[in-house]
């Protein structure tokens, strides 16, 4: 339709909601700074293989129990037997601040912590972002269907959401992980191996669906009674078309607002599950598993624990600030569970 309008009319059109929102976002300095921080973290994580191969010259997934490295021109062992306690443990080399030789030190298997952090970032970001996307997509579909269909369909979906909602999220995630980690997931045509990264993705995505579906269902309930939807129904438009052309465009901004906020939530959940050793499984590393690796070294080599935690905090804080910016630009009223 728009294409047939006269050229003059086109020139006077308002920029439209998406462009207005993009303009708002570009003027939000905090959100821009957060986006830059995120970009740096993402690019650095993507460069993990380059760092490992060309700068650190190490394989961060291989233990180097008897390896040596060079500090201040002297060759030193990566792991030295512990001098405290029973003398059974080992003390890995600490931060050397030299990218070629264990920049942030080694963990208790002699693996380069910096290289593992970068690889861990890939895993954590991948799980956080994919889980958030799946959660938002599924939550939107479920919320829209429940809100639009009403009646028995809505009642059933709402009760199921109530049940998941009433389950403390971490408990549900741990229950599912403990069970699925033994044999993987077999759900009809869907097969996920026990060690696969898709397992935590699926679990985290599933537990957060009600966070998205509930507010969107509420929105659709209101939309359903609006004149333009009634008009579409009255004009005989088929239901899929109404959902796609009338309902979805109106709830999409809210769903988009939730993506960065959910990514932050999903990353925190992933790290907590991995910390409890029911998330990402070895040989894969994530920031959560590195923190767990570092626990035994907490009092001797705290960097192994502190560095990944700082990265998680930095990334999730950036995601939250960016998410707030997107919210202010697109849908100031959007609230995840708990008003944040």
């Amino acid at each position: 339709m728009t294409a047939t309008l006269p050229r003059l009319r086109e020139a006077r059109r308002s920029p439209g909601p998406w462009r207005t929102a993009a303009g708002d976002l570009l003027h939000n300095r905090a959100a821009l700074a957060a986006a830059v921080v995120l970009l740096v973290v993402v690019v650095a994580s993507l460069c993990a293989p380059l760092y490992a191969a060309h700068i650190a010259h190490t394989d961060p997934f291989q233990s180097h129990v008897s390896g040596t490295t060079v500090v201040d021109g002297k060759t030193v062992p990566v792991l030295t037997p512990s001098s405290t306690g029973l003398g059974l443990g080992v003390t890995p080399i600490g931060p050397t601040w030299d990218p070629a030789h264990y920049f942030l030190g080694a963990d208790n298997q002699g693996r380069d912590v910096m290289a593992r952090l970068l690889y861990g970032g890939r895993t954590s970001l991948f799980i956080g972002f994919t889980a958030a996307l799946i959660s938002c997509a599924v939550g939107t579909v479920v919320g829209v269907v429940a809100g639009y269909a009403g009646g028995a369909v809505d009642a059933v979906i709402s009760r199921v959401l109530d049940v998941i909602w009433a389950f403390p999220v971490y408990l549900l995630a741990i229950c599912l992980s403990v069970v699925l980690l033994t044999n993987g997931l077999r759900l009809g045509p869907l097969t996920v191996d026990a060690g696969s990264l898709w397992l935590p993705v699926a679990i985290i995505a599933a537990i957060y669906v009600p966070y998205i579906a509930r507010p969107l269902r509420g929105q659709v309930l209101v939309l359903r009674n609006k004149e333009f939807i009634q008009a579409a129904i009255g004009s005989g438009a088929p239901v899929p078309r109404i959902l796609r052309r009338e309902v979805l465009p109106n709830v999409l901004p809210t769903a988009l607002v939730f993506v960065p906020l959910m990514t932050a939530l999903a990353m925190l959940t992933e790290s907590a599950l991995s910390f409890l050793s029911v998330g990402v499984q070895p040989p894969d590393a994530s920031w959560g598993t590195i923190i767990e690796d570092g626990l035994g070294l907490l009092y001797t080599r705290p960097t192994v624990t502190i560095a990944p935690g700082l990265l998680i905090a930095l990334t999730t804080a950036a995601l939250n600030v960016l998410g707030d910016g997107v919210r202010d630009a697109l849908d100031p009223g959007a609230r995840l569970r708990g008003g944040v």
Binding site: A166, F167, L176, V179, N183, G184, F275, A317, G339
Partner: protein, 325 residues
């Protein structure tokens, strides 16, 4: 009032239904997931088929699913003698009863701190809007929601137990729990840092929420009326704006408190070595000790569902529109 009562009865009915559904869901997760065999876990690795069959029989795992569900629920709720799979003879309910005061001590103390800090910070940010303090307070809020709880606990441990233990924090006891009745001073001392850690994660959210509510309340008609009557700004803030702004804060508090008492404080408990409900659940999950998991999860769901129902009823009491929803 009758409407509220009716609503309350209806709400508690649906709360019971949700709890039933949760118990079935947990049961199915652990007993009906293909490839998961609790008997194999109990019998240990490389158990021969005869042992497996014996274990299956002695734990009643060879009976049909609905029968097993009903038996477990009967032992848990009616006979109250459900036993752990892993430590035979140790009963589930006393374990939960023993862990509850630890979790309650942790959560109530933290809640007092975060509510006080959240209220002060939120009100301060709203009244100081546009000044330097406002973004600073909000920054604390973002940091709070972005920190991994367990990591923060580890860092606190590192600082208080190692780095500064010889100087500033020499008075900090090693991680663990001392009962309130046994020694109130030690109880508080052991819980101080767990309280602060847990509170930091929540104070920011509450401050942010309250700030938004107070700011929108301050532009309401009733605040203008109060101003026109000549009330002092302070009285307007405390008696009028703050009062209404507290409704969403209280409802969020209900949900958070319920979830935390139900075991959401698990990470804090694990990190600080507190033998509470979260730790009990976590240990049981590691061993697939289903009766204990069933007990703790139902206990958790009870608190969450109760909190949800109370919040809804509170809403109905405060906002008549919610009664018909």
């Amino acid at each position: 009032m009758r409407l509220v009562l009716q609503f309350a009865v209806k709400r508690f009915g649906s709360a019971l239904l949700v709890m039933f559904a949760i118990s079935v869901l947990v049961f199915l997760i652990f007993f009906a997931t293909p490839g998961v065999d609790p008997a194999a876990r109990i019998a240990g690795r490389n158990a021969d088929p005869a042992t497996l069959a014996q274990v299956r029989h002695s734990f009643g795992l060879d009976r049909p699913l609905p029968v097993r569900y009903l038996l477990m629920m009967r032992h848990l709720l009616i006979d109250r003698d459900l036993e752990s799979f892993v430590n035979r003879g140790s009963r589930v309910i006393p374990q939960i009863v023993q862990a509850t005061p630890v979790t309650l001590s942790l959560v109530i103390g933290a809640a007092v701190i975060w509510m006080t800090a959240g209220l002060l910070m939120g009100t301060a940010a709203a009244t100081l809007r546009g000044k330097a303090a406002d973004p600073l307070i909000m920054l604390v809020g973002v940091v709070g929601v972005s920190l991994p709880a367990y990591w923060l606990g580890e860092v606190v441990n590192l600082i208080t137990q190692k780095q500064l233990h010889d100087s500033v924090f020499s008075w900090v006891p090693p991680p663990g729990y001392v009962g309130l009745a046994k020694d109130p001073g030690q109880w508080a001392l052991h819980l101080l840092f767990p309280w602060l850690t847990l509170a930091l994660l929540y104070a920011g959210i509450y401050a942010r929420l309250l700030r938004g509510e107070v700011i929108s309340a301050l532009s309401e008609d009733y605040v203008r009326t109060a101003r026109a009557k000549g009330l002092s700004e302070r009285r307007i803030l405390v008696r009028h704006a703050l009062r209404c702004s507290l409704i969403p804060v209280v409802s969020l508090f209900g949900l958070d408190f319920g979830a935390l008492v139900g075991g959401a404080a698990l990470l804090t408990e694990v990190v600080f070595g507190l033998p509470g409900i979260g730790k009990l659940t976590y240990d049981a999950l590691q061993n697939l000790d289903l009766p204990v998991i069933m007990g703790t999860v139902l206990y958790a769901a009870f608190f969450v569902v109760l909190a949800n129902a109370l919040v809804d009823i509170l809403y109905a009491r405060l906002d008549p529109r919610a009664r018909h929803a």
